[in-house]
Amino acid sequence: MPQTEGSTARTEHDAEFVALLNATWFGANLPPEAQVRLVGLARRYQAPAGTTLLTEGQLANEIGIVLSGRVSLRTLVPEQGWVTILTVEPGDIFGQSALVPPYRSTSTVVALQPVDVLALDGPGLRAALAADHDLAAVLYPRVLQALARRLNATRLQMLDLFAR
């Protein structure tokens, strides 16, 4: 029956996405209910090297989880041109501005290699987190971990330890 076939297809699709999530440190070992919620908000896309995935100042509509490939977070500095602040490697996220008002990207995100991305719909995820506190309780610590890791790294970069 079409409905059953659709459910099966949906289930297979969900299982595949859950497996993809589990292969990333960001998504691994979340409770099954949380993973199902996330998968319901996810789309998967591939992009060739050189693709701009997000532009600084523009609305960030999706949080991206890098499955493979490398993306750079860049900012334009007068007289220096585009400076790469950080690269995001498989397992890590970009576009988390989609969770933080005013939901605008703080850097320009460009694929350095062909990338495979699992993208979570920003407005949908915000609504889910507001409505489902169990989901929020397990997801926010991951987001916080990703941010804290970047903050620590940024501090070390600011120290410019290798300058001397």
Binding site: I85, Q157, L161
Partner: protein
């Protein structure tokens, strides 16, 4: 002591004590001056009793003494006939056996670029030290341990010590800042002298402490001292001891002091301390030195000059790549006090203080170490012993066989020597690279070669800039490899994690070489290199070759990049903080700026690598390379001699502590 075994202080005294009437003292001075000896003893000069040449009794401070208290010294006239009724003044015998400045070596570079290195030969004067106190004999004994106790030795010091005859004088007039009783060094003389004098009202008790001293005493032709005279002498000594008391509780001081590294008192002292270096300049045991080059105008010929240096100066602990590990006065005061009374014992088996009180008297603001020790480490057990000797490393001439630019300011030099020695088999982590007229710098070995080595050098100062500018065929001087390197053999059958940041990567390259030579002896191998920008990355081709082997995990990252860089951007810890390897089986080797090491160590620890399996190379100001100049001290260690590679477990809480 004129015997060859200068560290021996237990020579059996000759039996019998003679009496030398005061009127015949000139006879003793004359005897001491025989055999070409210059007699050095107390004289009055510049408002103090200082050591200078003594030819006649009238040169001595007849009837003079000095009042001493914290920050105060005043000559006083006792209106009597005594010559030695004073406590020690600002000079110590150190300057005669360990001169304030000394030419160590000469180097030349001829018009063809050939370089040569040679020692400077000194005429060592024959001296007789007249009036050496018990505390000062103890100070000479401590210097013997430091400078002759090995593994490296100061041969100039050895000769000067051997050429000095020592006439000790029993202390009868302690000063207001003395505490030899607490330090266990006085006031009674217990050995280390050739002749011992005890000054009485009308003359001197005279005994000998060595063969040579016995010869001199015999030539004085003395009558035996009477019972009353001997009693008068021992009464004086007892009175002196009573006057000093026991002002510092030294039992257990080592542990008590090291437990107080975080005392707020350090900052309070620093509010008063001027960091003027007076205390270290007058100290009879401080041995720290710096070496500089004095060259002729065309830079062809240079003399390497060593001079006393002081841990209170800000530049003392500054490192080549910039930065300073003891920037605050409180850091330097803590370094000085904890070294004298604690870590000195760890290093040399003896306290570094003899309780002479000079540092108290000559402190312009009157900081009193007796008081500070009791305040910082209020009161229980003493130290041990140490010795043995060897010889300092010689400089060998090496040829530059190849120069490979690594970055805009960094090159790798391949160097060899025709001396036939298999340099690849010599242990040691770094070499001192010497350039005539420019100086010596410590450089880590970045590859071992059968006839020499590779050194990767960044131009940061005059010497390193000169070295990076050398061309094929040029010559430089190199010491034998120094220090303790990476314990690569400890990593056999383990996984290995190598993390190198910036110029911290070259010292790690020999580990990779060793692993590749015996690949099957190691488990998984992870190599991580971080640099400032892509153009600052070192060994780019080699990194690529290692990565393509398939049996090495190689990660490279930079702190910032432009759009042409397609590699990783981020700090080095991000290369492995989410890696999948298991740290419980791994040994880590880490080198880079200290703050990077700290961040790396935290991440490695979080991945399950315990402190005894994390080895780091400490960056400190290394100047002599053999543990004799004092610059690179960290807690109980000299980084050049005891390191530069340490396990975190070995360093304990010394690692990452501010101002140490």
């Amino acid at each position: 002591m004129t015997s060859s075994a200068v560290t021996t202080v237990t020579t059996e005294p000759r039996r019998g004590t003679g009496f030398l009437p005061r009127a015949e003292f000139q006879h003793l001075i004359d005897l001491l001056g025989e055999d070409g000896r210059t007699v050095i003893g107390p004289t009055v000069a510049d408002g103090a009793i200082v050591y200078g040449e003594v030819r006649a009794v009238s040169d001595l401070p007849v009837g003079m003494g000095a009042e001493q208290s914290p920050g105060r010294y005043r000559l006083v006239d006792h209106h009597d006939e005594r010559y030695f009724a004073y406590a020690v003044g600002p000079t110590s015998w150190k300057r005669f056996v360990f001169p304030p400045t000394l030419d160590l070596a000469e180097s030349h570079r001829d018009e063809h670029g050939h370089v040569s290195f040679g020692p400077v030969h000194h005429e060592i004067p024959k001296l007789a030290f007249l009036g050496v106190r018990a505390c000062e004999l103890a100070a000479l004994g401590i210097e013997d341990r430091v400078l002759l106790g090995g593994p490296y030795t100061d041969e100039d010091f050895r000769k000067r010590r051997e050429h000095a005859l020592i006439v000790a004088v029993q202390c009868a007039e302690p000063g207001g800042t003395c505490f030899c009783t607490s330090m266990g060094t006085g006031p009674g003389v217990r050995g280390g002298h050739d002749v011992l004098l005890v000054e009485l009202a009308d003359g001197f008790l005279v005994s000998s402490g060595s063969e040579e001293g016995a010869g001199i005493v015999a030539r004085l032709g003395l009558s035996a001292a009477t019972e009353d005279q001997l009693v008068e002498g021992s009464d004086q000594l007892v009175a002196a001891r009573d006057r000093i008391g026991d002002p510092v509780a030294t039992a257990g001081l080592h542990d008590r002091l090291l437990a107080k590294l975080d005392s707020p008192r350090w900052a309070e002292i620093a509010d008063r301390c001027l960091a003027c270096t007076n205390c270290t300049a007058v100290c009879p045991t401080c041995f720290c030195t710096s070496v500089s080059q004095r060259s002729d105008l065309d830079g062809r010929t240079a003399v390497t000059e060593r001079r006393w240096d002081f841990c209170f100066t800000k530049g003392f602990s500054a490192v080549a790549l910039g930065g300073n590990f003891r920037p605050r006065v409180q850091d330097r005061y803590r370094q000085w006090l904890t070294h004298k009374f604690a870590t000195w014992i760890d290093q040399f088996g003896t306290s570094g203080c003899v309780g002479c009180g000079r540092c108290i008297t000559w402190c312009p603001v009157g900081i009193d170490v007796r008081e500070e020790l009791n305040l910082i480490a209020p009161p229980p057990v003493l130290g041990t012993e140490a010795q043995v000797a060897a010889h300092a490393p010689r400089t060998s001439v090496f040829h530059v066989d190849a120069v490979r630019p690594e970055t805009h300011d960094t090159v790798t030099l391949a160097l060899s020597t025709p001396d036939g020695m298999d340099w690849s088999r010599l242990h040691g982590e770094f070499v001192m690279v010497s350039v005539p007229a420019i100086g010596s710098i410590p450089i880590s070995i970045s590859r071992r070669l059968p006839t020499g080595m590779e050194l990767t050098v960044r131009a940061v100062g005059p010497a390193s800039t000169f070295v990076t500018g050398l061309e094929r065929g040029a010559e430089v001087g190199l010491s034998a490899p120094l220090g303790h390197g990476w314990p690569v053999e400890a990593a056999h059958d383990h996984d290995v994690v190598i993390v190198g940041g910036g110029m911290g990567f070259p010292p790690l390259r020999p580990i990779v070489d060793e692993i590749l030579a015996h690949r099957a002896s190691f488990g998984e191998v992870h190599i991580y290199h971080g640099a400032r920008t892509p153009s600052d990355l070192l060994y780019k081709e080699e990194l690529a070759a290692w990565a393509s082997r398939g049996d090495l995990d190689v990660g490279v990252t930079v702190d910032r990049a432009d759009t042409t860089w397609l590699g990783r951007v981020g700090v080095v810890t991000q290369l492995f903080d989410h890696a999948r390897w298991d740290g419980s089986k791994a040994i880590a080797f880490v080198c880079g700026p200290e703050r990077m090491i700290q961040a790396t160590v935290s991440t490695l620890a979080a991945r399950g690598i315990t402190q005894d399996r994390i080895f780091i190379s400490m960056e400190r100001h290394m100047e002599c390379g053999v543990g004799l100049c004092g610059h690179c001290q960290v807690g109980p260690f000299f980084v050049c001699k005891d390191g530069p590679v340490f396990s975190l477990a070995q360093l304990g809480d010394v690692f990452g502590r501010e101002g140490i």
